[in-house]
């Protein structure tokens, strides 16, 4: 998925910086090094910020556009950082017929973001996911590792409110 505008400032910790520099040093001069570089970047930073891709471009002597082109081709890459809480709404068949779509829509409206996006304060990321294997609890959502099942739109909104009230 491509990005139109840059919404998030790039923040990195010293350990992230060091870990990634090490990765790049190992990949320098390696044929086909750009794919592992992108994967490592995503693993370390959670997404692909332009600042990191520019570093790859310089170090591996690959045009920035080539990296971006590759990253937009494969769905494993994202250009949006993950929020503190990732809300994943299951849109598998069972959840979907039991009204998961309404829950997802409601979250999107409340958080003012579309599925796949992160709120500007980086608190929430909203995702729609395929079957998570808990059809007995349909419709089901997860917030990070926490599972919430047998939801209705109203119950779903309540779950969101508890997280909105947390730090």
């Amino acid at each position: 998925m491509s990005v139109k505008e840059k919404v998030f400032d790039f923040i990195e910790t010293e350990s992230q910086h060091q870990e990634f520099e090490e990765c790049l040093n190992n990949l320098q001069g390696v044929q086909g090094g750009q794919m592992p570089a992108l994967q490592e970047a995503q693993r370390i930073y959670g997404y692909l910020p332009v600042e990191v891709l520019e570093r790859i471009s310089k170090k591996l002597d690959v045009p920035l556009e080539k990296l971006y082109s590759t990253a937009t081709f494969y769905s494993q890459f994202t250009f949006v950082p993950k929020g503190k809480y990732t809300i994943s709404v299951c849109m598998g068949t069972a959840c979907y017929v039991k009204g998961a779509g309404d829950i997802l829509d409601s979250y999107a409206t409340s958080l003012k973001i579309k599925p796949g996006e992160t709120t500007p304060d980086r608190k929430f990321t909203l995702e729609s996911v395929r079957c998570i294997g808990a059809c007995g609890l349909a419709p089901v959502i997860t917030v990070n590792e926490e599972v919430y099942g047998r939801l209705t739109k109203k119950k779903g909104d309540k779950v969101l409110v508890t997280y909105l009230n947390q730090e």
Partner: protein
């Protein structure tokens, strides 16, 4: 190479082993349509316009990438082939913005030509969901309209293979695939060098130069303006192509006549300015050799190369010759010496360049290029735009008489002419530098080692006892190679000529567009360059330092080459730019 027997459309014929079906058919006078194929740089078999039937094979074969083999039976004109090509075209057209009437490429659009051949109408049979892309006109020299893009990726190949820059590429996947830059930045925001090589290979109107003919018509309409035009060396050997004159014909006389009939107050020759460039550049070179550098000295006439250097190799800025390009030197002299001579205020002089180049549009906007306090040059038109002006003015180009340039900037030496081909600037500079160093006229002025269309040419010359190693490179991919060699210490050169476009200006991004069916089979560069060397050979004066107008302007106005005055008028400075 060994010839092998094949059968095309029932006729037995031969072709060299190793050829593709496309090449073998062409040798035997059968043209197979293509859209994505560009020889050597974009052999991807993606558009499937070139499909043919091969006996024994179940599916249709893409002729552009499939090699022939002994006894192969090929059919290029069966019902099955035609049907497949037609459906392909209809599908391509279904996502193409069909605003063809006044499209810049209407009449020489490869998609349009094929639609005509295959009777594909602007029908809505395949109409469905369509993505709308923003029209990108953020860069100085060109626009991009992805709604007209057919995803042939020829522009991507030109940018990444010829130029090794790669600021454009395919983003996203599937139906959403579109050509763009990293992080969807616009062309004005990325480190595009403005060379225009993408434009000359685009089959449609998805990318093209920014048309500035309106500005020129407006100036011509303004009675307070003294509108003068200058024509770059290579444009005279390419402009004819826009009027179906054979490739490599020198149409200098008709070009001058046409520009005069359009209404320019004076029609001058950039070649004369090129002679000035040589005076300054040769002098700068001698100074650098005598004062220990910085060496190598790189030429600075190609604005695409300059922008590349500023963006990607700013550490080489001290090595660039500080000379303005001939276009800018012309403007500078027009608005200073000429303005004074004519008694016209420089603000009332409107200088138009006829250029083989889209980066010249960028060059016009550069800082530190305003000798008289006003932009040296006002508008740089590409050869294509001038051809459109000539058409619009209703001038029957092919029937025009040959006319002469106006004076004082009308009589150039042969050295000015060869600026338009790779190696030409080097040769012109060597002619003048060797004579200056020798201190007397010299006879051997042909430096043939730096001629020709190879991407990298090297030579060593002994000039007045000093051994000088030179290189002439064209195309940024080759420039990159030579920079690596220099920076790794593998090679040392005194003087390096770099032209941003492969082959130099004769193959510039502003030249008439030749369809892939010509590009893939005709050596455009050699044919166009030959016309320039022919013109050089036939000039009475062939060294810039022999030019009477050069002598006069130095005597009256500039003093000596490299003087303070010459520096303030004819030299410029360069700035570091962002690489991303």
């Amino acid at each position: 190479m060994k010839e092998i027997m094949i059968t095309i459309n029932g006729k037995v014929c031969t072709a060299p082993e190793g050829s593709t079906i496309l090449e073998a058919a062409r040798i035997n006078n059968i043209e197979i349509p293509t859209l994505c194929f560009l020889k050597e740089i974009n052999e991807i078999g993606a558009c499937r316009m070139c499909v043919v039937e091969v006996k024994g094979m179940k599916n249709l074969i893409t002729a552009c990438v499939y090699p022939i083999r002994e006894g192969m039976e090929i059919t290029t004109n069966s019902k099955k082939v035609f049907k497949s090509r037609k459906i392909n075209l209809e599908l391509i057209l279904s996502t193409h913005e069909r605003k063809c009437l006044s499209c810049i490429r209407s009449g020489n659009c490869e998609l349009q030509m094929l639609c005509k051949e295959f009777s594909v109408d602007d029908e809505d049979y395949y109409n469905g969901e369509n993505l709308q892309y923003d029209f990108d006109d953020t860069s100085v020299h060109m626009y991009r309209n992805d709604n007209k893009c057919i995803l042939c990726k020829r522009c991507v190949a030109a940018c990444s293979v010829w130029q090794d820059i790669g600021v454009v590429g395919p983003n996203d996947r599937g139906f959403k695939t579109h050509i763009g830059s990293a992080y969807e930045k616009s062309l004005g925001e990325v480190a595009c060098i403005s060379c225009g090589q993408c434009i000359v290979v685009c089959p449609t109107g998805a990318i093209a130069e920014k048309d500035q003919t309106k500005e020129v018509w407006a100036a011509l309409d303004d009675p307070t303006k003294h509108v003068i035009v200058q024509t770059a060396p290579s444009t005279r050997v390419t402009l004819g192509e826009a009027f179906n004159i054979p490739i490599g014909t020198n149409v200098e006389g008709k070009m001058v006549a046409a520009l005069r009939r359009i209404g320019f107050d004076k029609v001058f020759d950039t070649n004369v300015a090129a002679d000035f460039t040589i005076m300054e550049e040769a002098n700068e070179f001698i100074e650098r050799v005598q004062n220990n550098g910085p060496l190598p000295m790189f030429t600075s006439c190609s604005p695409g190369w300059i922008k590349y250097c500023e963006s990607y190799h700013p550490e080489l800025i001290p090595n660039l010759s500080s000379c303005k390009s001939p276009q800018q030197m012309f403007g500078a002299l027009a608005k200073t010496w000429y303005a004074e001579k004519m008694g016209i205020h420089p603000k009332d002089i409107f200088v138009v360049g006829v250029m083989p180049c889209t980066a010249k549009k960028f060059e016009v906007t550069r800082e530190d290029e305003a000798a008289a306090g006003y932009s040296d040059c006002d508008v740089a038109l590409t050869t294509r735009e001038v051809a459109r002006m000539i058409e619009k003015a209703g001038i029957r180009f092919n029937d025009l008489p040959d006319e002469q340039f106006d004076n004082p900037f009308g009589e150039a030496t042969g050295a000015g002419y060869i600026f338009g081909a790779t190696g030409g600037v080097m040769e012109a500079a060597l002619r003048t530098a060797s004579e200056t160093l020798a201190g007397h006229p010299i006879d051997s002025i042909d430096f043939k080692e730096v001629r020709g269309m190879e991407g990298i040419k090297e030579a060593s010359y002994e000039i007045n006892g000093t051994k000088v190693k030179v290189a002439a490179v064209s195309g940024i991919a080759n420039a990159k190679k030579i920079i690596e060699k220099i920076q790794s210490g593998e090679e040392f050169y005194h003087f390096v000529e770099v032209m941003g476009c492969p082959g130099g200006c004769i193959n510039g991004g502003g030249q008439p567009v030749q369809p892939a069916s010509v590009r893939n089979f005709v050596d455009l560069k050699t044919k166009r360059a030959a016309a320039l060397y022919e013109a050089d050979k036939n000039r009475g004066l062939r060294k810039s330092n022999d030019s009477p107008i050069v002598k006069l302007v130095y005597k009256e106005f500039l003093g000596k080459p490299g003087s303070e005055k010459a520096h303030s008028v004819l030299h410029t400075s360069f700035t570091k730019r962002s690489e991303f």
